[in-house]
């Protein structure tokens, strides 16, 4: 589904990613861990199509296409979803309004019939309980006045409604209490199936209490320095990152 080959990327002429190789097949859950500043969020944002990154080498192939030449919204239509580390506030636009516009844009561009207000509301209602959000939050302006936990759960709600093929979670676990974390983990587990893949960027091992990944990659200074199974998380928990060393040497 996703093939990242020798990806080099810069921000403001500073090298951030220095040759990433990563292959994700449908149904797989990949976790990217690593210390601050290792390039995790850059990877997540670059895949989702944020401006401001220069790719100097390498390529990213998504569903057989050169992902880096596809506009941001078309990546969304093609099934890429990024749960934001810092979900953005949009005053005056209700959560419901954004969700409906997003879903229908995706459906329209995939030659599916758009949902009318009733169908849409019914669909949202059927999913809102599972993420532990109150219906009242649907009418409020997008993320405005939401607590940190509400913002993150809102991202998860969007994920469950948009039903993406490739879910990228950028530190969705940070700032969550134990209960919220459990809800997020459960939602992700519920979404797992043989067609959908996950790329979970996280700083902490605790996210992995509720999600069992297929692979864990350790990103350090722009390189993937180690890849392993879910047992790697425990080792990292115990020993930290420093034993892995930096850069190509590893």
């Amino acid at each position: 589904m996703l093939n990242i080959n020798n990806l080099h990327a810069q921000v403001d002429d500073k090298d951030i990613l220095k040759g990433i190789n990563l292959n994700i097949a449908p149904g797989e859950v990949h976790v990217v861990m690593g210390p601050n500043g290792s390039g995790k969020s850059t990877l997540a944002n670059l895949l989702a199509g944020r401006d401001g990154y220069t790719v100097s080498q390498g390529e990213v192939i998504y569903k057989g296409k050169d992902l880096l030449t596809i506009p941001t919204e078309e990546r969304a239509w093609a099934g890429i979803f990024l749960a934001f580390q810092y979900p953005v506030e949009i005053p005056g636009v209700s959560n419901l309004q954004l969700l409906k516009a997003a879903l229908n844009a995706k459906r329209r561009n995939n030659n599916l019939k758009e949902l009318d207000a009733f169908e849409f509301l019914e669909m949202v209602r059927s999913k809102i309980d599972s993420v532990g959000m109150s219906e009242e939050l649907l009418q409020r302006a997008v993320n405005v006045g939401f607590s940190g936990g509400e913002k993150k759960r809102n991202e998860i709600l969007q994920m469950t409604i948009l039903e993406p093929d490739l879910v990228i979670l950028d530190e969705t676990d940070s700032g969550l209490d134990i209960d919220a974390l459990r809800i997020v983990g459960r939602s992700i587990e519920a979404m797992r199936d043989s067609q959908r893949a996950f790329l979970i960027v996280t700083h902490y091992q605790r996210m992995l209490d509720s999600i069992k990944p297929d692979y864990i990659h350790v990103l350090s200074d722009g390189y993937i320095v180690k890849t392993g199974g879910s047992e790697l998380a425990l080792e990292l928990e115990e020993r930290g990152y420093s034993w892995l060393g930096k850069g190509e040497a590893a």
């Binding site: 989702a48 199509g49 944020r50 401006d51 401001g52 506009p71 941001t72 919204e73 990546r75 969304a76 239509w77 979803f81 990024l82 934001f84 810092y86 979900p87 953005v88 506030e89 949009i90 005053p91 005056g92 636009v93 309004q97 954004l98 516009a101 997003a102 879903l103 844009a105 995706k106 561009n109 302006a141 969007q158 948009l162």
Partner: protein, 490 residues
């Protein structure tokens, strides 16, 4: 994002230019024979206009007094708008569709070409096609061509008719209220309007009557080189209420056209007037060529205790907007409000805001202004809050928010506050922001294309004002805003 967004803007602008009128579908011209007087302005012209309308002497005298006063005035230069000098002698001050010479008695007599023009504008005049809740007065160039739903209104004692008909049928009402809120001495454009105004809408709501439907006027400028000078007068007697909507558009022309209207509202004890405008005069092309110069004086007076006047405006059109819908809060416990969305793009300029004049005790006013600038647009909020010495307990809250799109546009806020009473509470908040890269990326990541994303963010920014509009109008305003931003923002 500056650059990325800018690229989208430029790309889209070119596209619009290729498509021609896509961004201003109201820009068509109706080919209709007109009764037009020669250009120029002197006492003879004013007498001609007055005699064409068979006006009573008091009105002609008033016009002439206004004209003599106007001749002593200089065009004001205090606002932030800039434009080449207007040659008042080259304008035509009266143009009426020929078929309308005597004014139609019923819709069957209205020239079908005119009906088609309004139909095309989305304002069908045939009553069976109308939303049952709205009565429309259609003003075409200098005259009113049709007023709908009059019988239904008459059953409730509500008078809603063209201004010139009010002059003929209810001269005592006109004489009593005309100029009582906006005297001809008020300002340069008010004096000009008083001299040459040709028609407009008149509305009288008797004591205790709640007007059973929305009233609306649709103003259309059609003829070339013609100024439109209409005058609207709304009187709400004690305990009555009325909601009034105003819409406008004009053909796409390379020359600038002048529109100098006056609106006067009078609210007696416990009366309520809600006045909503969606102003969509032709804004000029992407190079700043053409467009309407909109110099308008709108003012309401809360004459009676506990009366209420609210102005809501969505200003997307005109090359120049110079407009300050105001409320004089004379009655004790009266309330005034002003809710505004003003959009400028390409080379549009807007200097708009309000005046809240607190004279009575415990009067309160609210001002909420949202300015959006894109392209080379220039948007200024100018507002005065004055609390007179006797206005004990007066309160005002003002909030002005500006949104900038792109790097060539400008936004300014000029609040004037004059307080002569120590018990007054006056608050002013102002913000200026840009659509952030984060917001845009967030929406696009969810699947909205840049145009829909910006339209959604901007509509959200205006939400507090839109919710003041009557329902059908709010929907229109959303659409209009999106359409108006299309091409200028991406």
């Amino acid at each position: 994002m500056e650059l990325a967004l800018w690229e989208i803007i430029m790309k889209k602008t070119t596209l619009i230019e290729e498509l021609g009128v896509a961004d201003y579908p109201q820009g068509f011209v109706t080919d209709i024979a007109a009764d037009t007087i020669p250009p120029g302005l002197d006492e003879n012209i004013i007498r001609t206009i007055s005699s064409k309308k068979n006006e009573p002497d008091f009105l002609l005298s008033w016009r002439l007094a206004a004209f003599r006063h106007w001749q002593t005035l200089q065009e004001p230069s205090w606002s932030s708008v800039r434009y080449p000098a207007i040659d008042y002698q080259s304008l035509v001050y009266y143009s009426a569709p020929k078929s309308n010479k005597k004014g139609p008695a019923s819709l069957d007599e209205v020239d079908p070409e005119l009906l088609r023009a309004y139909e095309k504008l989305g304002v069908p005049l045939e009553e069976q096609k109308l939303l049952s809740g709205v009565a429309v007065d259609a003003v075409f160039d200098s005259v009113s061509v049709a007023t709908t739903m009059r019988d239904q209104l008459a059953q409730h004692g509500v008078i809603f008719c063209p201004f010139s008909e009010a002059v003929a049928k209810y001269p005592e009402l006109v004489e009593k209220y005309l100029g009582s809120v906006v005297p001809y001495r008020d300002n340069y454009f008010a004096a000009l309007n008083a001299s040459v105004f040709s028609d407009g809408s008149f509305c009288y709501v008797p004591k205790g009557v709640h007007c059973p439907m929305e009233l609306s006027t649709y103003f259309r400028i059609n003829a070339a080189n013609t100024g439109q000078f209409e005058r609207t007068l709304i009187i709400a007697e004690a305990g009555s209420s009325v909601s009034y909507l105003e819409g406008c558009s004009a053909p796409r022309r390379d020359e600038n056209q002048l529109h100098a209207a006056v609106v006067e509202l009078v609210a007696m004890e416990d009366a309520q007037i809600k006045y909503s405008t969606v102003q969509n005069w032709y804004p000029g092309d992407s190079q700043g060529k053409g467009g309407i110069y909109n110099f308008v004086t709108k003012r309401g007076e809360c004459r009676g205790a506990r009366s209420k006047i609210s102005w809501t405006q969505v200003e997307t059109g005109s090359a120049i907007t110079w407009k300050y819908p105001s409320v004089i809060l004379r009655g004790d416990n009266s309330t005034g409000s002003f809710h505004s969305v003003a959009v400028t793009r390409n080379f549009q300029q807007a200097d708009t805001g309000t005046k809240m004049i607190h004279l009575g005790r415990n009067t309160s006013s609210t001002i909420l202004s949202k300015g959006i600038s894109a392209g080379h647009g220039h948007n200024a909020y100018r507002g005065l809050v004055r609390v007179a010495g006797k206005a004990d307990g007066a309160r005002n809250h003002t909030q002005c928010d500006s949104l900038l799109i792109g790097s060539q546009c400008r936004a300014h806020t000029y609040p004037y506050i004059e307080v002569k009473n120590p018990t007054a509470q006056v608050e002013h908040e102002a913000t200026t922001s840009k659509i952030s890269e984060d917001q845009l990326f967030y929406c696009r990541q969810r699947g909205l294309d840049p145009e829909d994303a910006i339209s959604m963010i901007v509509n959200g920014f205006c939400q507090d004002v839109f919710q003041e509009l009557p329902m059908e109008f709010a929907v229109e305003a959303h659409k209009l805003l999106s359409l108006s931003l299309e091409g200028s923002v991406g």
